[in-house]
Assembly symmetry: C2
Homo-oligomer: 394 residues x 2
Amino acid sequence: MLNQKYVDMLSKKSVIRELSEYAVARGKEIGYENVFDYTLGNPSVPVPQRFNDSVIRLIGEKSPMDLHGYSQSLGIAEVRQAVADSLNKRFGMNYSMNHIFMASGAAGALAHAFRLVTVPGDEIITFAPFFPEYNPYVTQTGAVLTVVPPNTENFQINFDAFESMISEKTMAVLVNSPNNPSGIVYSTDTIKRLAAILKEKSKQYGHIIYLISDEPYREIVFNNVDAPYIAKYYDATITCYSFSKSLSIPGERIGYVAINPACPDAEQMIVMCGQISRGIGHNCPASIIQLAVAENLDITADLSVYEKNMNILNDELKSLGFEVVKPGGTFYIFPKALEEDAVAFCKKGTKYDFIGVPADSFGCPGYFRLAYCIETEKVERSLEAIRKFVKSEY
Amino acid sequence: MLNQKYVDMLSKKSVIRELSEYAVARGKEIGYENVFDYTLGNPSVPVPQRFNDSVIRLIGEKSPMDLHGYSQSLGIAEVRQAVADSLNKRFGMNYSMNHIFMASGAAGALAHAFRLVTVPGDEIITFAPFFPEYNPYVTQTGAVLTVVPPNTENFQINFDAFESMISEKTMAVLVNSPNNPSGIVYSTDTIKRLAAILKEKSKQYGHIIYLISDEPYREIVFNNVDAPYIAKYYDATITCYSFSKSLSIPGERIGYVAINPACPDAEQMIVMCGQISRGIGHNCPASIIQLAVAENLDITADLSVYEKNMNILNDELKSLGFEVVKPGGTFYIFPKALEEDAVAFCKKGTKYDFIGVPADSFGCPGYFRLAYCIETEKVERSLEAIRKFVKSEY
């Protein structure tokens, strides 16, 4: 018989997907260039030419077996070493290749991290607003995802709520900074305070509470924003990274798990990732992509357009009277809607071909997310639509 | 706390891996060319040049976003359509793209197939000898893998044992033909008989018993061997395919799930695969690999070396008195050891630098597997070592 759990999931339509499909359909009517589609977090800047050059050169230089052969189950050794070296150089860490597991994007990395440190029934805590895919990611392992309500003042952590919710069932805390959807970067103070609580609570409950840090937006941090490398502040940190946004290669599915060498059993945990893979059919990112990424660890796509777009939108939204916390990174901005029901607000916006997504599924009702990973020219053209929308409806 | 299930797995060392590591270590002493290492099923023939040419051309022709962007969660539409077209042309099927889900190799495909049709506690039956990874693949879903003992006469299915073991808890039957480790291809008669039993038992138990067909060796079938396309004979067939062996690209992690259009709810099952992916962090094979494979569906690497190697080994082993069923495909041969304990037999072989793997973990004690995906020249040189081993020890 078909597994009913997955049948049931089919009936739950994602609001983001619905609005995105609406935007594409509307684009077919009036030209997609006239639809101000802020729904999807797809990188809009091209991969660095150097990455493509690496792929072509690898094909020319490597023997077919070395290039296309099975990767070791934890990832290609030289790639893991290159990732460790890069992290050490950039963040003053001391990873070795034995602390790195190559994963098929952040989704693959998180799938391993959750299974490493929880069994069914255990609790993972995360903070609103949060990436809604965390729900299926966590619940399908059998663990429970508990969401701490947002601190809407600045979208740092709501520590009062967190301290009242953490319990002995909490095996891990999941953070995402720079944050999807708020665009906020957790400050050094926030991370230090979080680390202090986790340390104290680990002691109190007699088991390590792991910090799982989901960092696909790590490279998209705006000018002068305080953006600590989270693992530096807490030993038992499992960092989950993706190259999707930094290199603009989301389709190539590559990232990694990095476990802080100071974490007890760090090296064993990496080997355990290889065992987890056997059950979930993971078996590493594509070899050619691993090898090409290893040659391009210290560069990114030209990410400057995101900050430019953010400033344009932030200024305009503020001047129109929106409550908005200025993003420190990512390609998202997260204003408060002009009425209580953000779903109704976003629906009204569609009349003006201005398409954002309400944040109910992000754990933050009343707010909406704009993904401004689109061309600056289009952001500029959208301002008139936003103005017209706001002035006509509110 | 660390998930003990995965900690426990670390202590179970795979015999295949141990022997393979031994072979590599021994190679460092005496030169790897002098170690007759038959342990690992790694393709030994190069990828077709056309595949590499496709990758290079795609980089030149496609826009970076189209090439490296997110693939749809079920795979890139044009790739799924190309796979359907190719199967229809080759096997007279009528798949559409809605029956195809792109997966990261056969391991990824199987991870989805098992979760589609079982819930924890359900049973999946397979037939010895079988690929030992089926154990973690199945048991980590919570389902139970039941193994039907081998038919050592010809390594087709032991139907008497199967019929006594199938029960109302059986939700799926898993076959692997051409078979790892036996090298045997299930005949049309075998598949017809299996299909008839599954049909009857599905009716008797009031639920569909799915046939999951793991076919990574489909293209490696030797001259004139009867090799039916299994889904043609049973409606509720879930075919799991990998391009690892046919194109010699195991590191690139690409394959697919194809569900027979005649299977009830076939299209819904494909959409369910997208939901399963969310929980296991799958998210499709790399885009560039999907696109390159789609241009090379009807070619294979030059697989002829495998048949040549098989014939050399088959003749020699027979003349040395081994009981061996001549393989119909794959790059494995599966003789009976010359003593009851195949582990002891293989250990003795290492003294002569002849390294095969005992089949205890394949569910067939007393037999051993040789993976002859090595150069013919080395196969020929190995014969003297095998002769010396047999004549000295038995």
